[in-house]
């Protein structure tokens, strides 16, 4: 009896240490040795204040361990690092906890995934959220699952929507207070998009915000007829949160059918928008639509980057978005007021963004039966890949594509809506002989001016992280993991990791030693300075 009491005491102490309180998430910046949320902190900056690895010594980065998942498919996961454990996911519903010091697995969760999923772009997943003694996974079969952080055992598992109707999840959830927030995918399958909140304790759904207004709600008139019922507008990338304003910022995706707009005339709210929500109730505070009535697949699913800066001498709370439509936008995040937008890549569809925040659309940019070439292409000027902001350089770093595509659609060929089947309407593809190219671009968020760029050889597919060591981490399309000088864009170090790099890096520390980790191929690689 005495023994078991003693055991209980010891275990109890350890459990208390492993708790992720909501306050820790709010104050993540005070624990730079951890990586507590998808973007590292609620502000979406994906910045590490650790500076042990810096511009002077980055050439001494050395591999410390590799963890191979053995799972096929694109690994887009951002690991979490909490109190000596790394948590990550792999495609098709795998999740792992690793001993942070050694990379040795502590547990593995594997979901029995149905075979008849409707997923446009691979069996991907981008990671987990953590709060309390759990981590949270949103699955391709449209469930939200709470896993015990110590064992990986299922604490609860709830169906959010019917995967057979085209709904799925690919994003890392975001934990705020006692809730876990997820945004749905399925914009190519005729879904009606939503953002959901679940009670972390019980799995009970606390609220749902439909990204398309329903019957009788303001905004439904921006959809022709009943097209709102299947208008897409998913929300498949993790948002950001301002605890002071108690506001959640989340991007929404393309209206559907993607390239066929004749049956959904109108602006199609709230597709291709940034929505600001009350995380307690899911009520909309404001919205800003980047691309009204989109016919080019320009999902506005980007991590919104929250920045505090003086504009015209006045301190402002800002949100910056490099949008898939090719423009970099700065908004006031208290009320969604549009401040300015500037192109950061080649743009042929709009002359500019007018003072009211709406694009001045150029002729010959709508898809036609024979095809029309528009820039940016369907992949966008950027895509879901995480941007980063360094408070040190006060620059925002983005993954930027230079690619135009041919867009085709024929008004006579209205696509049929069949639940769970593609609802696209047509296609886009690169014109022959176009080299796929991309770059990391450093943008001054106060002006939208590009300060420097680092060109990848061909189109990369990875996000960006910056650090107080004066570094920006990126990857090219051939699997090179690359460190750049955050001030100049000069490449300082790189290592081929032998697999596609489709995620963004993180940084953390173990026993006072800084690490950088990145997913490449089917593995996680952890680097530190050689001793």
């Amino acid at each position: 009896m005495a023994n078991s009491k003693f055991a209980l005491f010891v275990v109890g102490a350890a459990v208390a240490a492993a708790q992720v309180s909501p306050e820790r998430l709010v104050n993540a910046a005070r624990e730079p040795q951890q990586w507590l949320t998808y973007s590292g902190s609620y502000n979406g900056q994906r910045f590490s204040s650790l500076d042990q690895i810096n511009t002077k010594n980055v050439q001494q980065l050395a591999l410390q361990w590799v963890f191979q998942t053995g799972v096929k498919g694109e690994h887009e996961t951002t690991p979490l690092v909490i109190d000596g454990v790394m948590y990550l996911t792999a495609p098709e519903g795998h999740a792992y906890a690793l001993d942070l010091r050694t990379g040795r697995p502590l547990w593995h969760y594997e979901r029995n995934m149905p075979k008849d999923l409707s997923v446009c772009c691979g069996m991907v997943n981008r990671g987990l959220a953590a709060v309390g003694d759990r981590v949270f996974l949103a699955t391709l079969d449209a469930h939200v699952v709470a896993l015990d952080a110590k064992t990986g055992r299922v604490r609860w598992d709830v169906a959010s929507a019917d995967y057979k109707a085209g709904y799925s999840f690919t994003c890392a959830p975001l934990a705020i207070k006692d809730k876990v927030i997820v945004g749905v995918a399925g914009g190519e399958y005729g879904v009606r998009g939503f953002i959901d909140a679940y009670e972390a304790e019980t799995g009970k759904r606390a609220w749902r915000f439909y990204t398309i207004p329903g019957e009788g709600e303001p905004g439904v008139e921006t959809w022709k007829g009943d097209s709102w019922k299947r208008g897409g507008s998913p929300a498949w990338v993790t948002g950001s949160y301002d605890p002071e304003l108690n506001t959640l910022y989340w991007g929404t995706g393309n209206p559907g059918p993607q390239m066929y707009g004749a049956n959904r005339q109108g602006d199609n709210l709230y597709s291709d928008s940034l929505v600001a929500l009350d995380p307690d109730t899911g009520k909309r505070k404001w919205h800003f639509q980047f691309t009204p009535h989109d016919t080019h697949d320009w999902d506005s699913v980007h991590v919104p980057v929250l920045i505090d800066e003086a504009i015209d001498g006045k301190p402002r709370k800002l949100v910056a978005v490099a949008n898939r439509n090719g423009f970099f936008y700065l908004l006031d995040r208290t009320d969604g007021k549009y401040l300015f937008a500037k192109p950061y890549t080649k743009v042929t569809w709009a002359k500019e963004i007018a003072a009211d925040g709406k694009p001045v659309v150029l002729p010959n940019s709508e898809p036609t039966p024979e095809g029309v070439v528009v820039c940016p292409g369907g992949i966008g000027g950027t895509n879901w890949h995480s941007p980063s902001y360094s408070p040190q350089t006060r620059l925002m770093y983005i993954f930027s594509k230079e690619m135009c595509t041919m867009f085709m659609a024929d008004e006579k060929l209205e696509p049929p809506h069949r639940p769970g089947r593609p609802y696209i309407g047509s296609s886009f593809f690169p014109p022959a002989q176009q080299r796929d190219s991309s770059a990391v671009r450093a943008i001054d968020p106060k002006t939208g001016k590009i300060q420097w760029e680092f060109k990848h050889f061909t189109g990369a597919w990875s996000g960006v992280m910056s650090s107080a060591g004066g570094l920006v981490f990126t990857a090219d399309g051939q699997g090179n993991f690359i460190a750049l000088d955050a001030a100049t864009g000069r490449d300082l170090w790189h290592l081929p990791l032998g697999g596609d790099i489709q995620a963004a890096a993180i940084s953390y520390a173990v026993d006072g030693r800084q690490y950088i980790a990145i997913t490449a191929g089917s593995a996680v690689f952890a680097f530190a300075l050689s001793r």
């Binding site: 694109e74 446009c120 772009c121 691979g122 039966p369 024979e370 095809g371 992949i379 085709m408 659609a409 024929d410 060929l413 209205e414 696509p415 049929p416 089947r421 593609p422 696209i424 309407g425 047509s426 296609s427 593809f429 022959a432 002989q433 080299r435 060109k455 990848h456 050889f457 061909t458 090219d476 399309g477 051939q478 699997g479 090179n480 690359i482 490449d491 790189h494 081929p496």
Partner: protein, 270 residues
């Protein structure tokens, strides 16, 4: 009601054309929608052929032209070519086939050309095999052509011989375009060839003597791509119309084996 029965027939059989005769106008229209969504990237507008896939309007089907054979080609793809397996339902496939049937042009007169003579030219006086390999014979610098007849329409082949710079082939291994890469080393040596691979920091070039160079970009004075082929343009002076017809007939005879039904492969996703 008849229409509903027809559709039902297609959904259940997947070979509606063969069983029910003419497919419905709806099926053709849905097939056109699906074609634009799934196929147009390679097979071009109205199925007239593109950079990656053959013209599907000629009535000549490399892997069988019955509904069942077309359904198999669409569903399972053609291994060894750019044609991937497709995740479509049987009903979708039958609609695509119904649409393709409406796109058939009147049979063009059989292209004149002696494939046997074309083969002799290819390995002989036309000197194609100096750079191109067919079934293990020939050079290494240019694209392999062992199955080119399955993947390229006749017009594309003619253009590639007469004006090779117009549309450069993509290497299936690396996705790299067969353009001309020219690297100049610090000591002024020039390496010209095709890139076997390349990333942000390095390039691997095969030169015209088939020597492979591994180069670090930072150690080079310059490295540039020119949007032209290393292949000479075969004007009528180099290859007259009759010889061209024979070479093209030979190339068109180079076909991928019709696949045995193979399950379990998945569609490559972006």
């Amino acid at each position: 009601m008849l229409r509903r029965m027809l559709l039902f027939g297609m959904i259940t059989s997947g070979i509606a054309g063969a069983i029910w005769g003419q497919p419905s106008a709806d099926a053709v229209k849905q097939g056109a929608v699906l074609f634009r969504q799934e196929c147009v990237f390679c097979h071009g507008v109205n199925a007239r052929g593109g950079v990656r896939g053959p013209d599907l309007t000629t009535g000549a089907w490399a892997h069988g032209g019955s509904d069942a054979e077309l359904a198999r080609t669409i569903t399972d793809g053609v291994p060894g070519t750019a044609m991937p397996p497709n995740r479509l339902t049987e009903a979708d496939v039958s609609q695509v086939i119904a649409y393709l049937r409406t796109q058939q042009q009147r049979a063009a007169p059989a292209a004149a050309g002696d494939a046997h003579r074309g083969e002799s030219l290819f390995f002989g006086s036309a000197r194609c095999s100096g750079c191109h390999m067919v079934n293990g014979r020939g050079g290494r610098v240019g694209p392999e052509l062992s199955t080119v007849g399955s993947s390229r329409p006749r017009g594309y082949l003619v253009e590639s011989i007469r004006e090779p710079n117009r549309q450069l082939t993509e290497s299936p291994a690396s996705g790299i375009i067969y353009d001309t890469v020219i690297a100049v080393t610090r000591d002024g040596k020039t390496v010209t060839g095709v890139a076997m691979n390349e990333d942000t920091f390095t390039v691997q070039i095969m030169d015209l003597t088939e020597r492979i160079h591994s180069l670090d970009k930072k150690s080079l004075k310059t490295v540039r791509h020119e949007s032209r082929s290393l292949m000479p343009s075969y004007s009528a002076d180099l290859l007259n119309e009759s010889d061209l017809g024979d070479v093209v007939a030979y190339l068109q005879s180079l076909r991928a084996a019709t696949p045995a039904v193979e399950k379990g492969a998945t569609h490559g996703e972006q």
